[in-house]
Symmetry: C2
Subunit: 600 residues, 2 copies
């Protein structure tokens, strides 16, 4: 018997598998199959357990590398190959998809058609293996072996001794095949079909192989270890569905009740389990209960499902459900854009016109429905609905559909839906405007709002006309403006951020035209982040350039800035004492900033 | 026939249901059940479709309010009541949980026990309705009617005419009951048991009722409209599991293959569907196919499952899977704490010791496994593993288990796991330290790191000893320190933030002892957010108090600050010109700030 290296117990997932195995190691019920000597000779103490994740990590415990014949565990994969070769409808014309309520070797065929009930019992599997493409018996088996190997991610081989015994003792399967041939549901040469079927049962696998094979089904047909697409996603789905209702023979209902994950067992003691989008499991322990399923294998799957809440029919506890969408009204967020006093006043007076919803967690049907309900209940005053998807994980197709429908409906109500979504995962660009972050999304809404009321924020504001100088007369304004230097930047040009120390640097930046943005480059792997932007009329102090955060200042358009140094400010105070009074009363309140943390 | 109000089409989910219904309205196959005249007289054009969310929103289309008798759609709910009264094992001793492979009125009982195959066929439902608690026939039926009403969220009634007809024509059910009584699987008075069963079949429901009833199962037994817990979560799970394999009689396998959601149909034309944690659906259209299921009902469920990717066996497309955990090394994040030059240098030199992982989306098995793998592969140099859960949605139990295991394993490696989790949802406080945000989590790690190398960041640093004055001699230091004012704050005391304008305010804050924190109050509903903190030795300029973001400055401990005004600075320059030189070279680089946006 194999023993896992000591080191493996140092990771919690291996420890979990070890725990399950050790807890069940002394469960000595059942007997190994003995209808052929090769199976009866197996060490009944063998017990392995493996798990493969959808990014191809394989964890295991115990006799995970011991080889055994796949037997019926091969059936789902051969069914998958038949689906790949013929499509669902053609395969279903030859084999049903209903649980039979009978044992694995049931002889019951559908009245009229002679179809076997499903591909998970022997009769059905004889038909599906006959459907795999190939002109000759050898070609067909080669395709099956190649296919099983592709599912496992390594070249598999056949146990020729088991194959010979299966051929020699397979009376009941032979009878089934002849009955189906008689009923017309199995065509071709019966003995040749049976040879292919017996060989497929005799393919050698390990627990690790079963885990990878089932992870391939769980992941929609892509082998997570090799990256190879083995079957189409829809075919993987079909196979899991049939495993869910028929995989455990006449214990399938109990299995769904107690374990709740699609599975398939074989008489050599293997069980494979697939949890869609999560993992594949392989278990191996030869002693079987009366229905032909591994005793320890069943118990291990029960334990794993129970202890870790993996049952497909389990409802998420309400306290674990995702947070509902959160509206940030009545404390409206503002964009990253510096605004003039007039713009800010206009936005303040219309705070109810832009509404932000922040979503977090995966976006499924339930979350999408809550979002659309919130949007449809918005007061008429709201003109822009900003949906922040920057904290969302995966987005289910139904959620994307509902949000697309929402955008269309809102358009008919003159309400514009705008998305903040760094990944642009939605393919919703056709129906809603997308921006890479919430700040830019808000900025676009505010700009539209301001333009709509005659305050186009992109119209240049010469320094002499700006807010900054309060009620100063034109003569004084001209004198004040003259104390400023001029800095012209071409679109795309960037400059280093002004520093706050030494204390003798620029103390005021004024933007006359164009647009400046301050960017923080984060990790190399992360795109540049825009901290804020400033357009015509914005006056910036060193406080607007936090030193560690500001990596560069970029002109997003051709931009003219006017700058005042501390020295210039002192000279101005000496020459025009009144000017200082103006400046010291100036509304340099800094930017309205979006602080993501505010909405956690 | 009913017609939905025009207004309802204005929401995308109703539009979706309308679309499904309109697309199938002209599907005229099948005939209504006619074994009793009441069912045969129904208008075959009736067609209703409703959906209930897990927060109790009911959407509907068409004849959603038309009443019809529940018939077999009542079976899952009566099974649920039997489970509530006796528990799973006792119920399973009397009725199986295996798909029978036969029709709804199958007469097949389990050899030996005489158990009916499952509670979704007539024989099984006669047994489960006999198991509902109650001393008399009336008491038992009252409990059933109350129970069905609790599932529906409104008082249901019985159609007495249908009941009378069912009683009069129920030969086959009567035969089933007597067979089971003979086999010992049905005890009590056969006619009384049958009366309860026929009455339960005659309870009147609408599409909306079916949607709410199935949403109650999907939500783990809590009625989403009334908030009442009707059955335990585990019993709701059991019912859904049996519906998944047996709910559609001998079309259950095909149903799982093509629709992939647990469902139950009745001969009056109703179908109920439950998608765990998502919603309940009710469909009503009387014409049936040969197996006794509503033709339009089946087609509607197919459409909904296909179009919106709701099949339980569907694998999430790789491009829609959640993002893997992201390590922010080698661009380490820093806490919100202002650090002295020596502290910053020490942290810079040990940047690899603190590792941050940011998770986003729901935390399921797969994401947790990726996280633990990343943690276990960390280099030995790492001493702190900070897991940022602030962007995570729901957390599956298995994920919480794995993270608890990870924290324990990391402890044995002298690696400390620290969580940033505003909701403290994990109950992981026993195994890992939790902080409400990433900034505070990082600060705690940095403080431990610094203390461990003899740089305890809480030891007071008198102004005269600080970094700020570079290589100034003690006499000059004393003179410089004298230009500062002293501000003592008691723990918990807060002051308004210093403003950057007028330009004549405090230009430098120095913390000698204690701890200051700057907080931004966001929306009323959101807890105060700490923007940064500063301890002994920190020198702060106005740039550290961004005006819009800083709401108040709080002393978290008894704190002594020293402050320098612009006027004080000018006076100092006049009296001690050398001091200005020092100050102008001072390393006032501002705080190392955590900017959440950097990691999007």
């Amino acid at each position: 018997m194999g023993h896992e290296p000591e080191a493996s117990a140092h990771d919690p997932l291996t420890a979990l598998l070890d725990g399950v195995r050790l807890r069940l190691r002394d469960l000595n019920d059942g007997e190994p199959a003995s209808y052929i000597p090769e199976l009866g000779r197996v060490d009944p103490r063998l017990f392995g357990l493996s798990l493969c994740t959808l990014d191809g990590q394989v964890y295991g415990s115990g006799d995970r590398a011991v080889r055994f014949t796949a037997q019926s565990v091969s059936k789902p994969f051969v069914f998958a190959l038949a689906l790949a070769d013929h499509g669902l409808e053609n395969v279903l014309a030859r084999v049903g998809a209903e649980p039979s309520g009978e044992a694995f070797n049931s002889i019951r065929l559908e009245p009229g058609t002679g179809r076997p009930p499903n591909p998970m019992v022997n009769a059905g599997a004889i038909v599906t293996s006959s459907l795999v493409a190939g002109d000759t018996q050898k070609a067909r088996f080669d395709r099956i072996l190649d296919g099983l190997s592709a599912f496992a991610g390594r070249p598999l081989t056949v146990d020729e001794a088991v194959y010979a015994s299966e051929c020699a003792t397979g009376d009941r399967n032979r009878a089934l095949a002849y009955l189906m041939h008689n009923a017309g549901s199995l065509t071709g040469d019966v003995e040749a079909e049976l040879a292919v079927y017996f060989r497929q049962c005799s393919v050698l696998v390990t627990c690790d192989d079963l885990a990878v094979m089932h992870a391939t089904l769980a992941g929609g047909g892509i082998n997570p270890v090799t990256g190879e697409r083995v079957v189409a996603s829809r075919h993987a789905q079909h196979v899991l569905a049939v495993m869910a209702t028929c995989g455990m023979y006449d214990a399938s209902g109990q299995w769904m009740l107690r374990v709740g994950m699609p599975a398939k067992s074989g008489v050599s003691g293997g069980i494979g389990v697939a949890l869609p989008s999560q993992f594949g499991i392989g278990v191996f322990s030869p002693p079987l209960e009366e229905k032909g399923n591994s005793v320890r294998g069943i118990a291990a799957c029960h334990l794993i499902s129970d202890q870790f809440g993996l049952h497909l029919m389990r409802a998420t506890a309400p306290e674990r459900r995702p947070l509902p969408p959160r509206s940030l009204h009545p404390a409206p967020l503002r964009s990253l854009r510096h605004r003039t006093r007039a713009q800010r006043a206009a936005l303040d007076a219309r705070a109810e016109r832009i509404r932000v919803h922040v979503l977090q967690g995966d976006l499924d049907f339930a979350t999408a429905e809550q979002t659309l309900r919130a949007a449809l209940e918005l007061p008429d005053a709201v003109g822009w609905f900003v949906l922040d998807l920057t904290r969302v994980g995966r987005i289910e197709p139904v959620a994307a559909d509902l949000l697309r429908g929402l955008a269309a409906e809102l358009r008919t109500r003159d309400l514009r839906m705008v998305l903040a979504d760094p990944d642009e995962r939605q393919a919703m660009t056709r129906t809603a405007d997308e921006f890479p972050d919430l700040g830019r999304a808000l900025e676009a809404c505010e700009d539209e709002l301001l333009t709509g009321i005659g305050l186009d924020p992109d119209i240049p504001v010469p320094l002499a006309d700006c807010d900054l100088f309060g009620e100063a007369d034109p003569g004084l304004r001209a004198a004040l403006a003259e104390a400023f230097d001029t800095l012209d930047l071409a679109a795309g040009e960037s400059v280093a951020p002004p520093q706050t120390v030494p204390l003798d640097r620029i103390v005021l930046w004024y933007v006359e035209s164009g647009r400046l943005a301050v960017c923080a480059d984060a990790a190399d792997t992360v795109t540049t982040r825009r901290t804020w932007s400033a357009g015509p009329g914005a006056a910036l102090t060193p406080a607007d350039f936090p030193p560690r955060r500001t990596r560069k200042v970029v002109a997003e358009r051709d931009t003219r800035c006017r700058t005042l140094t501390a020295a210039g400010f002192r000279r101005l105070r000496e020459r025009e004492p009144d000017a200082v009074a103006f400046l010291e009363r100036a509304p340099l309140e800094g930017a309205e900033t979006v602080d993501r943390g505010d909405v956690t």
